[in-house]
């Protein structure tokens, strides 16, 4: 399918869409006018699709410098009367949360939807926090879709609800919903006016103590009214089978539950909670009364389970409640159909039959992701490790950051020692440099530097720290699929844009020792790293070389390398120290370079102790 179909597809057309693609269609059908994000998996493809179609759709779209700015761009657009949309991965909402928490006080004018894509089981994240808690922390309505069609439907409903109550609405997906593909039936794309108008109203939009006190009261009143909506929402659905067992579930877990009940002809009543906050108390109460036994099936935190227990306590009703808190279901990670079966089998007879599970009799080695062949990060790690050996520096600390270079955690690089969040490499380097006498070498990517690296770097200089920061500028936001950032001459809609110089920013923070290297030039890079490590104070090396996945960068003739026949003595130095996927040990024990994978970076040629790697003719 051509991705433009997300925009051009007509009413009643049915397409096989990824949850994230359905999200964009839902926004377009709602007449969204401004959309902003910082890329983060599992939400990344929403931005990728907007990036491709926004111009044609007459929508303003940007990749903001970080999620907080994205939230603010969308908030201001909404305050000006436009429909706006911001979306991010779950931890992105932490970054945006400062403004988000006040935005619910000021409220909105045009409908505003905030989508958080959670990542249970952490397929591509540093934690699996459950952002349903944010609905409670901030106090705003939450909708939880289970499949791509529902995402699209709830986007539309979310905008309507938001506009009616002048409050942002939050949609929580998970990896399995955002990255699920299913059939989506289209309605008409709705185009709205392109510019809004901001009517100043400081009592509404400026939360200082005096106004904020009133705003909070109004927020609570709004949410009281919205509770009626969740109580009566068509999206909260009871599947009544006159059973004694009642299952309360949401999101992806709902899909697993229904498939298992269906497949094994198990009789249970099911309440699917989609409009999940304000929690539909009366609806749940009615459901609780209609059954004898309750199972709450929800992913990550026992959020609904605690709501259920509260309701039972409040109304003095006694029911068995099974879920995470009594150990029936696992407390962490995403669920699966097998987990549902195992959990039900703990509490109910007759047991649901399980398929025979085959296990391999030989051990299966892992296949972790790795830096691509030709990746400039690999050369940086090699250079630094060997320079440290030369300088006889022991016990270095490598604070790292969020991006492909986190893959430096694996052998042989082992250059990732401490990581908390976007930008934490620099902030924690400040701490390590004060708390220890160890050498601190910190890594951050270009996009991550813009996102959250600048304030901690100023902090480092001002507080007279002593560490080496390596900015891995590979000219893209690589890990999430190659989105642009402020350091590039192009913006999120594909238009030309001012390129912000990382070097000039670093200079402006007061760093005195700044060098830019081509990391693929091993000898020069090593010399510069040596100097930087001998420098007292904060020194910054910008390693500038484009990511190998950027398209069309090899327009000129690309070279390939090969091992000279019968010359290699199989010392395996290249294999052990570079671990480039293009270099491999053939069946007869000789070292070979895969011509298909080799990107001609020549690092192996430069470091070969026997000088037996040459350019392929």
């Amino acid at each position: 399918m051509n991705i433009e179909k997300v925009l051009t597809g007509e009413k009643d057309e049915k397409l096989f869409l990824l949850g994230n693609e359905a999200t964009v269609r839902g926004a377009l059908e709602s007449g969204v006018q401004v959309a902003a994000t910082y890329p983060g998996t599992p939400s990344s493809e929403i931005g990728d699709v907007f990036s491709k179609i926004a111009k044609q759709a007459g929508v303003y779209f940007e990749f903001s410098i970080n999620e907080k700015v994205a939230m603010e761009v969308a908030a201001a657009a909404s305050a000006s009367g436009l429909r706006s949309f911001t979306f991010m991965k779950h931890v992105g909402l932490n970054v945006a949360s400062d403004s988000f928490m006040s935005l619910v006080y000021t409220g909105v004018n045009g409908g505003m939807v905030v989508l958080s894509a959670d990542d249970p089981s952490m397929f591509s994240s540093q934690n699996e926090q459950d952002n349903r808690n944010y609905a409670r922390l901030a106090n705003l309505p939450m909708l939880e879709p289970s499949n791509p069609q529902e995402i699209k439907d709830l986007m539309k409903y979310g905008f309507e609800l938001s506009e009616k109550f002048k409050l942002p609405v939050m949609i929580r997906t998970t990896t399995r919903v955002s990255h699920m593909r299913g059939m989506v039936k289209f309605d008409t794309v709705n185009r709205k006016k392109e510019k809004g108008f901001f009517h100043r109203d400081p009592e509404r939009f400026v939360p200082v103590p005096e106004t904020a006190r009133i705003m909070h009261k109004e927020l609570v009143e709004k949410m009281e009214k919205i509770k009626d909506k969740s109580e009566n929402s068509v999206y909260n659905k009871i599947y009544n089978n006159d059973a004694d067992i009642g299952i309360i579930t949401s999101g992806s877990a709902f899909n697993y539950v229904m498939d298992i009940l269906d497949q094994h002809k198990i009789k249970a009543n099911v309440l699917k909670v989609t409009f999940s906050y304000p929690f539909p108390e009366k609806l749940v109460l009615k459901f609780l009364k209609s059954v004898k036994d309750i199972v709450v099936v929800e992913e990550v935190d026992p959020v609904m389970e605690k709501e259920v227990l509260t309701i039972l306590g409040k109304y003095g009703i006694k029911r068995n409640v099974h879920g995470k808190l009594d150990g029936t279901l696992p407390m962490i990670y995403e669920y699966s159909p097998d987990i549902i079966v195992n959990s039900f089998n703990k509490i109910y007879e007759p047991k649901i039959p399980r398929n025979k599970v085959f296990k391999s009799k030989v051990r299966v080695p892992k296949r972790p992701p790795t830096l691509c062949p030709g990746c400039p990060h690999r050369a940086v790690y090699y250079n630094i490790k060997t320079v440290l050996d030369d300088l006889n520096i022991k016990d270095p600390i490598y604070p790292t950051d969020i991006g492909c270079y986190t893959l430096g955690i694996e052998a042989p690089y082992e250059s990732a020692d401490y990581l908390l969040s976007m930008g934490s490499s620099i902030g924690t380097s400040c701490g390590f440099s004060k708390a220890t006498n160890q050498v601190v070498i910190s890594f951050i990517g270009d996009s991550t530097f813009f996102h959250a690296g600048i304030p901690p770097l100023i902090n480092a200089v001002h507080n007279k720290n002593n560490f080496l920061l390596v900015i891995l500028d590979n000219r893209t936001t690589a890990m999430t699929g190659g989105q642009p950032h402020p350091g590039l001459p192009v913006d999120g809609m594909g238009d030309a844009a001012p390129e912000i110089s990382i070097e000039k920013i670093v200079k402006a923070t007061g760093v005195q020792n700044i060098k830019t290297i081509n990391p693929l030039n091993i000898r020069t890079s090593r010399e510069i790293f040596k100097e930087a490590l001998e420098y007292q104070g904060v020194s910054v090396v910008i390693s500038k070389y484009p990511c190998m996945l950027i398209k069309n960068q090899f327009k000129k003739k690309q070279i390939k390398l090969e091992v000279k026949e019968n010359k290699c003595r199989e010392c395996l130095y290249c294999l052990e120290n570079l671990a480039c996927p293009a270099i491999f040990l053939s069946d007869n024990g000789s070292v070979k370079i895969d011509g298909l994978q080799c990107k001609g970076c020549t690092v192996c040629k430069q470091i070969c102790p026997e000088q037996v790697i040459k350019v392929r003719k």
């Binding site: 397929f123 229904m258 699966s336 398929n355 025979k356 992701p369 294999l575």
Partner: protein, 196 residues
Amino acid sequence: MEPYNIYISGVGGQGIIKTSIIIGEAAINTGFDVVMSEIHGMAQRGGGVSTELKIGHAKSPIIQDGGADLLIAFEPLEALRALSKLSSSTYMVVNNSTIMPFNILKSNIPYPDVKTIFDQLKSVSSNLMVLNADEIAKSVGNILSLNMVMLGGALAVPDFPVDKNSIIEAMKDNLPEKTLEINIEALNQGFKLFSI
């Protein structure tokens, strides 16, 4: 209908998601309901990749242990990793061309002997169809067409719910026009190996 469950596994960069989308769209155009699960992100960097497809009546795309009707494995080790999804009636279409994990030299678990891998698979189900998709793809003119060679092999599996014409129509919607001829040839070559 009871869903027909397809588990597809391999290594990032082999065209697994594209193959899965082609099967899914072809199945929808044939009139089936389809749900599919894919994992994006870090996997692109040479890690293991898998997708799950259910064709027929299902809400969740996640296949239960022992629940796959068909395994399409683009790499032998990734077939072995999928073992828990297989049953004695699963059909397995497996590429015999290996890709070493990048850190295998530092791993305390060696890459198993390929024969051992196939013995393991055969001990689960006798419906094992092995092909050298890399060689076939190269012989038709482009190694990148190996995913269509694999899909061709899968098309020859009895009960595969979608016919070749529907697959080719979906390929037209999902592959660059200039590579279509080679890709269709790759599909045909893979199909030819196993069709009776």
